[in-house]
Structure formats: structure tokens, C-alpha cells
Symmetry: C2
DNA sequence: AATTCTATACCGTCCAGCCGGTACAGTAAA
DNA sequence: TTTACTGTACCGGCTGGACGGTATAGAATT
């Protein structure tokens, strides 16, 4: 109920946007407030401290992750394929949450890191249940992580342009082929 | 010449250490100076500004990268194998430089990002020259990136303990098997 | 005594958090 | 239907502390 972009929501997405585009250092309370079209005091009304703001972001991340798990589990092409496909940054709400949180995690925040670890663990379980082999699962996870890592490192223009790695756009289809190849002959 | 741990070197590695263990926010000039057993003034004597300090770190990274390229090119097991093996964090000087720089890159520093992009490009060329197929090369790179990303995210105790992913230690041998598997049948 | 290096005191800026206010909507006694 | 009161949403100035950088005086090495 009442799901227009409330001030609170605007603040949260503004925080994400600033983290993604300008890094954690630029994401000051004032800057976030300004980007959300709210005063600093207004922001502080919704989030009592910067830590609370971060907690809000983590909560959002967790909620979106739950949805992602569900979609992953019922994907017709399987969890592994789903993971690789969705790991290339495409501007989803979830994508943005992840990259924003990643920026924070590098900073120092323990809460964010913990959330990440937990989400990762679930992903791994899902992929393992799909492909069977632990080493292959790990490899697939790492590949997806690498994809996100690139998205987090090199700024993402605010649109939803295709992810690039060192200037070249990523060929997802080719990547999926490689993944299929490494699934074809699992070692113990 | 003169390669005892000079004050300058100590400052640089202290900076890296703080970046790795406590994040960029904690790596203040005073904290770095203290960790290096030097006063703030002493630090500023060697590096005129924080930016200069970062440049020093980037320079070190570039120099170590050159050595790594050489070792990679002449590795008996090939570039791809070398890359995967050395991507699991093992506490090397180079490892530490990379992770430290990674922390900074997330912050906002353009210089660091640029250096990263260049190093990455060279790695990619080397791996491509080894495995032939672009998609496979990309996959191998991403896999290695994922490994480093984990090292950067979850703090690394100051020793040289084996890298862990979500609590489990990484089985490099198994990973190399998977890589070998995906090299065995490259699709166009 | 000159150069190299170290230590300390200090300044300006920036930022998180605080606080005293404003606006307004509901509500309920008169 | 006015008046008084309460709670929610939001504003913007202020402050105290931290941090980057400067100045400068002193110690050690040559």
C-alpha cells in the first residue's frame, strides 16, 4: 500500500546512485539528501544516522536477493545459466543494489560484507544443486563475481548500457558456451 | 641499490596494509605514518600529499606487474594456468599491492582504475596468446578476477593464509581441472 | 655546516549528527 | 466551526571532531 516513490525510497535510491557513480566518499548525507530532493534534516528524519541509511540499503538488498533466489530456482535454463546471464550488469534494481553495496563493502562495513557472504552462500547452494560438481559450481560463481567486480570498478553510466570489460562488450552467449563446456566433463 | 626497508618503503607498505585490513577510510596520513613508525611530518617529507602516496602505490603496482608478466610468459604450464594459480591470494607483495589498489579503485581514484585496466589488458593478451579462444580467455580472466574480488572483500589476516571463499578454502587444483576442461572444446 | 630526515603545533575544510524551528493534517472537546 | 492539541514530515543552521596539508624547529648523518 502507498507505493509511490516516497521520500524515504527516493533517499535510498539516491544513496545507491551516488555510491555507484561517485563512490562512497561522495555519498555524504547532504549530497544524498540533495539528490533525493530532500533536506539534510529531512533525510535524518527517515534514517537516524548514516549507519541506519546503510542498514536500509542492506535490507533492500536482502529483499531483492530473496526474489532473485526464487527466479533462479525456477529458471527453465537452470540456476547456473541464470546466474551467469544475470551477472552481467544490466541496470536492474537488484544490479544497482549489489554494486552500491559492493562499494560500501570495500570501505569497511561489516554488516554489508556479512549480507554479501550470506547471499553468496545461497547462490552457491542453488548452483551446486543444478550442476552437481562443487569445483564447477565454484568456477561459475567466480566467473559471475568477476563480472560484477568489473561493473563495480568501472563506473556505470546511469543508463542501462551493456556491461563492458576493458572496453569490449561482454559476449554472454559465448560465455554460456564456455560454461556449458566446463559442465560437460566434471571431475570428482 | 639501498634496499633495506627505508622509511619510504615502510610508509608504502604500511599504506597497503591499512588499505587491506581496515579500508581506505582508515588509511589516514596519521594512521599510515604511525603504522610505518614515522611521524606525519616524516611521511609528508617522502610523499608530498596523499595523492602522491597513491601514485607511489600505483607505480609499485606497475613495476610488480611487469615482473608478473615476465613470469607469466615463461611459465612452463602456460599463461592461463599461471593466471589462475596466482589469482588465489597468497600474501605475495604483488597480491597485497593489487588488493590495496583495488580498495582505492572502488573509492574513486581514476589513476588507480586506469592502471588496473592496463594491467588487465596485458594479462588478457597473454592468456589469449596461450589459449587461442577469446571467450575462453575472457572466462579465465573473469574467474581470476572473481578470486581477487573475494580477497578484496573479505579481509585478509596479515599472515599468508590460503584464500577462502565463503569460509571454504579454494581448491586450486580442482579449479585448474575445470579450466582445462573448458579449454578442451572451444566454440567459435 | 649543509643536507637529510623527523617531530610537533597549527590552520582550513569538510562532514556527521544535533537541534530548534515550520507546515500541516487529524481530532476532539467547546 | 472555532480552538487547542498532537503527531508526522521536513528544513537549515550550528558544532565538534577528524583529516589533509603547512610551517617550522630540532636531530642525525655527511
Amino acid at each position: 500500500m502507498t507505493n509511490q516513490p516516497s521520500a524515504r525510497d527516493r533517499v535510498l535510491t539516491a544513496y545507491e546512485e551516488l555510491l555507484i557513480n561517485d563512490g562512497p566518499r561522495a555519498a555524504t548525507l547532504e549530497a544524498v539528501a540533495a539528490a533525493a530532493g530532500v533536506s539534510k534534516g529531512g533525510l535524518l528524519y527517515h534514517f537516524k544516522s548514516k549507519e541506519a541509511l546503510t542498514e536500509g540499503l542492506v535490507l533492500k538488498l536482502r529483499e531483492l536477493a530473496e526474489l532473485d533466489f526464487a527466479a533462479m530456482a525456477k529458471d527453465p535454463l537452470g540456476c547456473a545459466s541464470y546466474y551467469v546471464r544475470t551477472s552481467v550488469f544490466s541496470g536492474t534494481t537488484f544490479d544497482r543494489s549489489i554494486v552500491a553495496a559492493m562499494r560500501l563493502a570495500q570501505g569497511e562495513d561489516g554488516t554489508v560484507r556479512k549480507a554479501f557472504a550470506e547471499v553468496h552462500a545461497t547462490w552457491y547452494k542453488l548452483i551446486l544443486s543444478d550442476v552437481g560438481d562443487p569445483a564447477v559450481s565454484r568456477a561459475i560463481m567466480l566467473l559471475g563475481d568477476g563480472l560484477y567486480y568489473h561493473a563495480a570498478l568501472f563506473g556505470i553510466a546511469s543508463g542501462s548500457e551493456p556491461t563492458t570489460v576493458d572496453g569490449e562488450s561482454v559476449d554472454v552467449a559465448a560465455l554460456l558456451n564456455v560454461v556449458a563446456q566446463m559442465r560437460s566433463g566434471p571431475r570428482s
